[in-house]
Symmetry: C2
Subunit: 241 residues, 2 copies
């Protein structure tokens, strides 16, 4: 089963100035592709912290995605952190300098050369209309923090990430969670491979709990759904999707 971790790098998230929309986006997209994201970490712009986190997640996952810290300023330290994680020096990539100079029409300044500085051995994936390629070091995919750019870049390489997608069914229940917990436990005993989610609503809606039944095996989900519906009183079920 393909697994992934997301590392969000940026003091602006931790201080509450900016809300991270990149990890929700990546979670949804990867889930759709059948890849299990089992950890998201948000860390500050500090080389040693980035290095330790990239090392740990790279060792324990098939794929790692980083967001943020790749611009030209003092607090853009992701490339330095990834270099340190892999024990390689950072060096100016002349092919990126050439692209920057083609795009801007003048010689790259010091800040632009910093943006072109990558961990030695980085793999570049060219992605059609994006003049700056996706940078990959080992299994670590380095994305910018600007949501529009991250989404374009991920979209351009999404076909590289393929797992077995989940089949999802939803049951909206007109009972309190504590009143159906016993039925849910019995369902899981009979269907131990089922991924069962239970989400109470606090505001007034037509249901009190949303149940999600998931598996990569469609027939298994169907059997579990039938078993659940047989266990619940008929008037407890508001809707099945």
């Amino acid at each position: 089963m393909a697994t992934a971790a997301i590392i969000v790098i940026g003091n602006e998230i931790l201080s509450g100035k900016v809300v991270d929309t990149n990890s929700p986006y990546l979670c949804r997209e990867l889930r759709g592709l059948g890849v299990d994201v089992d950890r998201i970490v948000v860390i500050p712009d500090e080389i040693d912290v980035i290095a330790a986190e990239v090392r740990a997640q790279s060792d324990s996952h098939d794929w790692v995605f980083t967001s943020g810290g790749v611009g030209p300023t003092h607090d853009d330290l992701t490339m330095d952190g990834v270099s340190k994680a892999f024990g390689v020096p950072i060096e100016v990539n002349e092919s990126i300098v050439a692209r920057i100079e083609r795009a801007t029409g003048h010689a790259a300044n010091e800040s632009q050369r910093k943006m072109a500085s990558l961990p030695q051995g980085a793999h570049l994936i060219d992605t059609g209309d994006l003049w700056f390629p996706v940078v990959v070091v080992g299994n670590v995919h380095i994305f910018p923090g600007i949501p529009e750019l991250l989404q374009k870049k991920f979209d351009s390489i999404r076909s590289r990430f393929q797992g077995v997608p989940f089949v999802l069914r939803r049951v909206y229940v007109r009972r309190k969670e504590s009143d159906i917990a016993q039925e849910l436990n019995e369902l899981l005993e009979a269907h131990p491979e089922l991924m069962l989610g239970s989400y109470p609503r606090i505001r007034g809606t037509e249901y009190e709990v949303l149940l999600t039944l998931e598996s990569r095996d469609a027939a298994y989900v169907t059997r579990a759904l039938e078993a659940l519906l047989a266990r619940l009183p008929a008037d407890a079920v508001h809707k099945v999707e």
Copy 2:
């Protein structure tokens, strides 16, 4: 300096079904109180993973806040994880059972007794109108995942968390980030204690980069702001807040 970590527990976040709004809320509120959040971790509903993460963050921070995993169902494993992190058994707290029975008017069922099961030695903070108290184990504050409840509970105990607040100034700049990176680096060399953020906008606005200058020392921020404005061309500054 008071530090905090936030642990968000829930498969529904990692699978992209639910967007976590609790960690942005806590980041903003804690920042306002002068507490540094320096790590957010999102992990699945698995006892061993929860235990390891709670242990690690509890050891390295003044305060830890968890969100999610405290309901009555099979996937609510936060109390078990925290118990394991602190090496204490989990036990039914009869004072909580009594509150549940007072609130519902009937004897607690098995699910409700599960909700009343806490790590041994847990500290309960009663909070006025909330019938379920805030549960604290060591320096770990355990909050429910439902945003309305988490916010009410945090609000009721916020006076316990007091650091020295930051003073923040904002400068909106009509230049590309790469064109002012040199000035920013010089500013930081002259003011090494300054927390300087630089946030480019990709969509058309009246400015291209938002700079944030922060310190717990108001006079320091004022001096740094003056030094920055002296460095930037006058027509580069759109607005100062």
